[in-house]
Symmetry: C2
Subunit: 216 residues, 2 copies
């Protein structure tokens, strides 16, 4: 089974703090995410700056696009994004437009699963050629005290069996990763736990150690 | 019945074009919207620039926030936004966090209705104190040929009867507005039809004429 990648979500409210965090953590992760907060705070120049500094990384623009799929995709893929996110409630026409634009740039889109999405929705995304989704325990849901439970793991597993490459995010600790053992998770996404710590390299290493031991 | 307001969505991909459009149209509209495209293209300085130029207007930051409600709300309300949008699939915790932050600034939030939202969802938003929603015919849905139909009008009417102040958007022509007669629509939102035309004042006037004749 392919090893899950490690992704860092950069969700600072100013670009220079985001770039400082990226500098510390980039050598230890596979995917650099220009988070929604960062993209709104500073605009898509966040994507250009990350691409120019990190030509070899996968760069994700986390727009959670709900509409204007082609225009938003053009904004980020023309600036060097590899992937871009769509919100699950976006109309299929928006998803298709974003996907078509992504493909022009050899990029890809990911659907972010919030609210009342269903497996029937996931099937319709797969049918149109979307193969990536992000399973989410939102930061506000975390703050409200919701932990990872068996239902979460089962939903990720079912999406994966349907043929979706699933990334997983939401207050993950290295120990949480073990619960996804046996599922070909695309990326594990962490944020503040990786850059808001005294030793980001060590923190990333703890995630990588679990990945290496559980996905062999 | 209170007259619906007229709102212009600024969805340019650069700030200077957006400000040019705003200069032409601002005297003729009630609400200036920093659109999602503009906010991603240029960041929330789009909101600050609009606020500094138009101190008397309602300014809407169309973030369609799905998560991080407090942080995103702080970003835009601290820069002078009056309203901010949330996507309908956002968790209630996100909506509550955004609403609480909005209220600190005497601002408000609006829920954008995309995808499979339900009236039960709308009831839960009302129960938590959210009183504004945006009924949407998305630009990609428009491009796919979907027109305004009787179902759209009935859904707007039902939301309104439930106690929601509903704004309406999506390729609206002045003639389309007549179909909403009898419903206390909060805002009619137009975009390119108002600023991509030889005479924006005249185009806005045509909307206002219909509003004045149908909502008396």
């Amino acid at each position: 089974m392919k090893k899950p990648l490690l992704q860092i979500a950069l969700d600072q409210t100013d670009l220079s703090s985001a770039l400082d965090a990226a500098e510390k953590i980039a050598p230890h992760v596979d995917v650099l995410e220009a988070g929604t907060i960062l993209c709104f705070a500073e605009g898509v120049r966040a994507v250009s700056e990350l691409r120019s500094r990190y030509p070899g990384h996968i760069i994700l623009a986390d727009l959670k696009a709900a509409d204007a799929g082609a225009v938003l995709a053009e904004l980020v893929f023309s600036r060097g994004a590899t992937w871009m996110t769509l919100i699950c409630s976006a109309p299929l026409a928006t998803m298709q437009a974003a996907l078509d634009t992504a493909k022009k740039y050899s990029g890809d889109v990911q659907v972010e699963l919030y609210g009342d999405w269903t497996f029937e929705h996931a099937q319709s995304w797969l049918a149109m050629g979307i193969t990536q989704a992000i399973y989410h325990r939102g930061r506000d849901a975390q703050a409200a005290g919701k932990g990872w439970d068996r239902d979460d793991i089962e939903r990720v597993e079912k999406l994966s069996r349907m043929g979706m490459d699933v990334s997983v995010t939401g207050g993950l600790t290295p120990e949480d990763l073990r619960r996804f053992r046996g599922i070909p998770v695309k990326c594990f996404i962490a944020g503040r736990s990786l850059y808001d710590c005294p030793d980001p390299a060590k923190a990333a290493g703890e995630f990588k150690t679990v990945i290496d031991s559980e996905w062999t």
